[in-house]
């Protein structure tokens, strides 16, 4: 089966590309990135609720987002500024995760209409360095790892 979301990260570079085709008209795909309520919906998952503390979805606006777990603990917070927003075409923004030593990223989101019901999103993320990019790439990997460790710990403590 071909994978819907593709990540390209060339060796030794400091950027990466995420591409994905959607069964959505480009207008809706774009709206999903500029309507705060919608963003909160799709950025949330069973483990964390996403909230936009600030969202000025316009050229030179800024945003601040936060995710909390079931106990209300903040598990993720990030902020940045919109360099440019061109409806149904392009979003250029900065992104920085708080409390993570990953620096600032420049993100360029390109929205493309494929037909009346299909669209494509290409996200080009540029890091301060290749080392930081690789670190970011490994993060979900490391998180999965620590989750696995926690589960293991749980199981082991029950055996005690």
């Amino acid at each position: 089966m071909e994978q819907k979301t593709k990540v390209t990260a060339e060796d030794g570079k400091q950027d990466l590309m995420i591409t994905r085709e959607f069964d959505l008209p480009v207008e809706l795909l774009f709206k999903a990135h500029t309507d705060p309520e919608l963003i909160e919906q799709w950025m949330s998952n069973p483990y964390a609720t996403s909230k936009l503390l600030k969202f000025e979805g316009k050229k030179h606006g800024s945003y601040q987002q936060q995710s909390t777990d079931a106990n209300g603990k903040v598990v993720f917070s990030a902020s940045g500024v919109f360099h440019d927003i061109i409806p149904n075409k392009k979003i250029i923004r900065t992104f920085e995760m708080e409390n993570a030593p990953l620096g600032v990223q420049l993100e360029i989101l390109n929205f493309e209409k494929l037909d009346d019901h299909k669209s494509k999103l290409t996200t080009h993320t540029i890091y301060e360095s290749g080392v930081l990019r690789d670190q970011q790439l490994k993060m979900p990997f490391a998180q999965g790892l620590s989750m696995a460790h926690d589960r293991m710990q749980e199981i082991v403590s029950k055996l005690k």
Partner: protein, 162 residues
Amino acid sequence: MELKTKVHAEDGKQDLTITREFDLPVELLFRAHVDPEIIVQWKAIPNTTAKILKFGGKKHGSYHMQSTDAQGKVVSNVHGVIHEFIPNQKIIRTFEVENAPIGVQLEIYDFEALTDNTSKLNLHVIYESGAIRDQVLKMPGASGYTMGMAHDRMQEIMNKLK
């Protein structure tokens, strides 16, 4: 003679660093980058007049600078957003020249006090691609020499404020 402003661009990368030491306290070096009246004096393209239409010198602020020629014709529009703003230490911002085919760049300015009267600027510029960076490097305005002239101008302007 060694150039005071050094440009370091590694082969095959999409970023570059510009470093320069100034005979200025770090506060004045920083001010030269955030005071609109001073910026227009040293950042203007030769033979043009620069005007700052918008300048939000704060975190999550934005800026817009316009240059006009002697006839009043607009020759360039530069704009961007300020991601981070720490007085006398750091500025992170985006930068784009409208209608120029070089995309957007991320600029990280580090200001460092060397002594009470000298300071160092470390500017890290990251482009959308290595090809764009190389193209910019070939433009006359990007050489260490031209950039050095702007920095010389800045040093002169700031000397008066010492």
